[in-house]
């Protein structure tokens, strides 16, 4: 139907979350590609950070398997330590951070640690890595997930990466600075928080319906007053993505 894949749409939606001149915690896979698209379109001065100790202006030309691959080190804007890079988070210099997760809940809290009771877990997930720090300290958090009922849940089993906690003032009460998820980009839709921190359905990807999205969400998902359709990728956006994704990995 469309001349782009769902993943391509997700990448381009993620790219649109990055503004020019921003410092962005990039991560791997989909977000790093999104960062590349943003740099090539509307955000040529964005700076990309990788928690291992790498900062880049232009993304690496080669396919990366990890953020620390030699191709990501060569001609980097800075290769240094983890603290030097992640210190920018705690010092509130990072505008946007991207993370994924196994579960996200109604208030945007993300779990990458334990499914089930943490003392007797049903599934032991790898843990935070830097996700907790990124979620706590980025000025905006963008989460990327597949839209499944078991992933978008009423309440996560364990808060690895805090969103709006129980909503309302609870994030601020916990001592966290402004921030929290500004967008959750799934393969079906984009959710955004209301003033209380509850995630609402903000836009539905072309080819999906609001009802389908609700059915695949583990809580009673409300619609944003200005709910719309996610704009399809523009020709310019797709051209940038195709230039990065030469091998068609995301098609």
């Amino acid at each position: 139907m469309a001349d782009y894949s769902t993943q391509e749409l997700m990448i381009i939606a993620a790219a649109r979350e990055i503004r020019d001149g921003e410092i962005v915690f990039v991560g791997m896979r989909l977000p790093i590609t999104a960062y590349g698209v943003a740099r090539m379109t509307h955000a040529p001065n964005a700076v990309g950070m990788f928690e291992g100790g790498v900062v880049r202006y232009a993304p690496a030309a080669e396919t990366l398997y990890t953020m620390c691959d030699p191709a990501n080190q060569r001609n980097a804007a800075w290769t240094t330590g983890l603290l030097q890079v992640m210190g920018h988070l705690q010092a509130r210099k990072v505008d946007a951070g991207f993370i994924g997760g196994a579960e996200i809940d109604r208030f945007g809290n993300i779990n990458t640690s334990y499914i089930g009771d943490p003392a007797e877990p049903k599934v032991k997930l790898p843990g935070s890595g830097g996700a907790a720090d990124i979620a706590a300290m980025s000025k905006r958090l963008i989460a990327i997930m597949n839209h499944e009922k078991r992933r978008l849940v009423e309440r996560v089993d364990y808060v690895t990466s805090p969103g709006f906690l129980e909503g309302g003032s609870s994030r601020a009460d916990a001592g966290l600075p402004d921030g929290g998820p500004s967008a959750v980009i799934t393969d079906k839709a984009i959710l955004r928080p209301d003033a209380q921190g509850e995630l609402l359905l903000s836009s539905v990807h072309p080819g999906h319906s609001a009802e389908e999205v609700r059915e695949n969400t583990g809580w009673d998902l409300k619609f944003a007053p200005d709910m719309s359709e996610t704009p399809a990728p523009s020709a310019e956006e797709l051209a940038a993505l195709h230039q990065i994704d030469r091998d068609g990995f995301w098609r």
């Binding site: 990788f50 928690e51 291992g52 100790g53 790498v54 398997y65 990890t66 953020m67 620390c68 691959d69 030699p70 080190q73 060569r74 980097a76 290769t79 240094t80 330590g81 983890l82 603290l83 992640m86 210190g87 988070l89 705690q90 640690s113 943490p118 877990p121 049903k122 599934v123 032991k124 997930l125 790898p126 843990g127 935070s128 890595g129 830097g130 996700a131 907790a132 720090d133 979620a135 706590a136 300290m137 364990y158 808060v159 690895t160 990466s161 805090p162 906690l165 994030r171 916990a174 001592g175 966290l176």
Partner: protein, 306 residues
């Protein structure tokens, strides 16, 4: 200069003890001294407390081999595959043994190592507020006494490894070593540790290291043993030297899905080779494909003083 060169086998035997707190690789997904991972498994070390931000699949291997009693860190898995099957089995079913998990985030484990390296009584951290990690019972909650209103902080105690094992591009016989590319928490982990083992891709003349003292990761006077193991970081990458062997990680991920598969993998890649040299030989031409052959040299830096 004291000659600190030794075989990796001797270094692990003499410097790593059961129940030690161990950092093995602290650069996240690069420069992981897997040769030391294999040697710890072969020597049957037990009850190790592994401290790490992320050491790709190294910790998962050690858990499966029964070497680990506790995890003090931010992440255990397999970067290529996501989940770590051995970590799951240990945490979910106590196979091969139960493990204690002390949850940290990357930044908080970094600040804990920094605190130990720099003699701080503790590190006040804000980046884990709101996370379940802040409930780690070894941490304490406090208020920032400089803030006008309530401002909670988490106090993280120093983490002092008994031994830190790091991989570097080159070192001299005294353990003075050069590193370039991102280093994660290697410097903090090295300076925090009671004992340090350096796994060097190459041992070079003293004058090479002395020619560029700003490229030194950990100075030799803090190092206890230095071992030349040319492919000692395989399958992880090493800036300017080795590409990542992603197929190897994928194969490990697939085969470690069940216990028997993991045991067969261990036999094939750890016990049967029996030494770093035999492992390298087994890799054979595969290593040639991973070896970085190009040359893109750092711009010269002059240290002349006259």
């Amino acid at each position: 200069m004291t000659d600190k060169t030794t075989t990796l086998s001797d270094a692990i035997a003499s410097l790593v003890r059961d129940s030690d707190k161990v950092v093995l690789g602290a650069a996240l997904e690069t420069a992981i001294p897997f040769a030391a991972t294999y040697e710890l498994i072969r020597q049957g070390k037990r009850d190790l407390n592994m401290i790490a931000p992320i050491s790709d699949a190294s910790t998962d291997m050690l858990i499966g081999a029964g070497c680990v009693g506790a995890i003090t860190g931010a992440w255990v898995g397999n970067v290529s595959g996501g989940l770590g099957h051995n970590y799951r089995r240990a945490a979910e079913k106590g196979i091969p043994n139960k493990i204690v998990i002390n949850d940290y985030s990357n930044f908080s484990v970094g600040m804990a190592l920094f605190a130990a390296a720099y003699g701080m009584p503790y590190a006040p951290v804000r980046s884990i507020l709101g996370s379940g990690i802040a409930e780690n019972p070894t941490f304490k909650k406090a208020q920032n006494p400089f803030a006008e209103k309530d401002e909670p902080v988490v106090l993280v105690p120093p983490l002092k490894p008994d031994v830190t094992i790091l991989a570097v591009q080159r070192a001299d016989r005294g353990g003075n070593c050069h590193f370039w590319g991102s280093n994660g928490l290697c410097q903090e982990a090295g300076l925090a540790a009671e004992r340090v083992i350096i796994v060097a891709n190459e041992i070079v003349d003293d004058s090479v290291i002395a020619s560029d003292p700003s490229r030194i990761l950990v100075p030799g006077f803090r190092v206890d043993a230095v071992c030349e193991v040319p492919a000692g970081t395989h399958p992880s990458p090493l800036t300017g030297r080795w590409l990542r062997d992603s197929a190897f990680f994928n194969d490990y991920h697939a085969r470690s899905r069940d216990v028997d598969g993991f045991k067969a993998w261990l036999d094939e890649w750890v016990f049967d080779p029996g030494s770093p040299e035999a492992y390298t030989e087994k890799l054979g031409s595969r290593l040639d494909e991973l070896r970085i052959k190009g040359e893109q040299l750092a711009a010269p830096a002059n240290y002349a003083a006259e």
